[in-house]
Symmetry: D2
Subunit: 141 residues, 4 copies
Amino acid sequence: MCPPVAERQVEGYPAPGTLDDVLGFELLEANGERCRARCAAERRVQQPMGLVHGGTYAALAEAMVSWATVAAVGPGGNFAVGQSNHTTFLRPVTSGHVNGEGTPRHRGRTTWVWDVEFTDDEGRLCAISRVTLAVRPAQAA
Amino acid sequence: MCPPVAERQVEGYPAPGTLDDVLGFELLEANGERCRARCAAERRVQQPMGLVHGGTYAALAEAMVSWATVAAVGPGGNFAVGQSNHTTFLRPVTSGHVNGEGTPRHRGRTTWVWDVEFTDDEGRLCAISRVTLAVRPAQAA
Amino acid sequence: MCPPVAERQVEGYPAPGTLDDVLGFELLEANGERCRARCAAERRVQQPMGLVHGGTYAALAEAMVSWATVAAVGPGGNFAVGQSNHTTFLRPVTSGHVNGEGTPRHRGRTTWVWDVEFTDDEGRLCAISRVTLAVRPAQAA
Amino acid sequence: MCPPVAERQVEGYPAPGTLDDVLGFELLEANGERCRARCAAERRVQQPMGLVHGGTYAALAEAMVSWATVAAVGPGGNFAVGQSNHTTFLRPVTSGHVNGEGTPRHRGRTTWVWDVEFTDDEGRLCAISRVTLAVRPAQAA
């Protein structure tokens, strides 16, 4: 479940100083068919009790599917912007990594919907996100 | 809408080094009747385009209602843990603050539900979150 | 909380034979500022245990905000279609009415978001729905 | 995708006169591993424009996963009650059937989470639901 250490990240990710960078997110794959990302369960992504913060899952889901959708629709002159993020927390993570894998459920002309599954390093399902993005012509953005 | 600079934060918040600290969250009020928090729209809470990251709203909502619920149910020997966070993005924020105010919609024996509204410094609604927490006896946590 | 018996329904509602008609929905007000609807907690809207079916709240929310949005955007040559319906169940209803009141949270050019609150005849909050609709030019629909 | 006509329904379903009966829901399989249900896209499950009503998907999802969860947890002395239903609409259905298949994503001691996919008779994905149920000791219900 844990991607090998040597795995290359998506080029240009993360933008320095942004949330993804500050929280240590790693983007491993991002295209219109799939996206994968992870982060280490370090203190900077935890809440006070030492559990990975609920916002970490939501933020990681948002980041990875946004990056993937923009990669897919950008060449056609479109842009994508998050519209809704519904994250359900199933099992706490306190160490190792949070590993996310996203699958597109709908790739429409104006809307994309992704499902993201988060697992711990033992492959146990820890959280799931359903994220909707609006797709718009780039000049309108 | 923007809380005055001198407003005091909730004592003990944030826990040093945790996500709330790293992202610069400020918790202004947290009890069973209401919670308020904010963060500056700095680069550390943005995505690459300079907009406040969708995950920022979700994380801030999660943090503030968790803190408020624990404050309310803790004295009765209970604990609260996030179960679901559904955040809807309405309007981008690029500067100033994201100001959140949470209102409990349900305070049950086993479940609490909060609505959080996020406004920019001009008072415009920018995002809304609906967060569900499970309440459990503290010894079970 | 229970609208008076003599209150007039919105004209033309419900379309005969459709779900709203079959389940006995009543639409009391539907415009871009607000919508109100209700249904009697009869067996036709219940699940086997005699509680109002979770789907009843979701369907009533969907119906009332769709009707209200179409009423508001139609004159401008637009159409509205449901995109997402998130209903949270707070308290069972077994008799009297389910009374819904909807408030628009966002009225954008391409998206509307409504919150609906459902109360029983004693005014207790029983369910809440957050519904997103896509607004599109009528000729595209 | 369309279950063969001769397929047997789950015994005892639907309870006469309830919503599931009135809307013509058919429950084809309901256990802790999976559930399947469908309904014909008749006028009684439509909105005025002839599309299957958004509430139909939500209600069918709610019904099938509730039945399945109760079937799974009942023998252990537990009961299940709907907590949250988030349904996303992807593609309109105007004829044939709405065919639902549910998969449990989490089967916890106090909470179950299901994903339901709805397809038309050509197998195209039309709607998806994420439903959370609370599991409680039957004597408490």
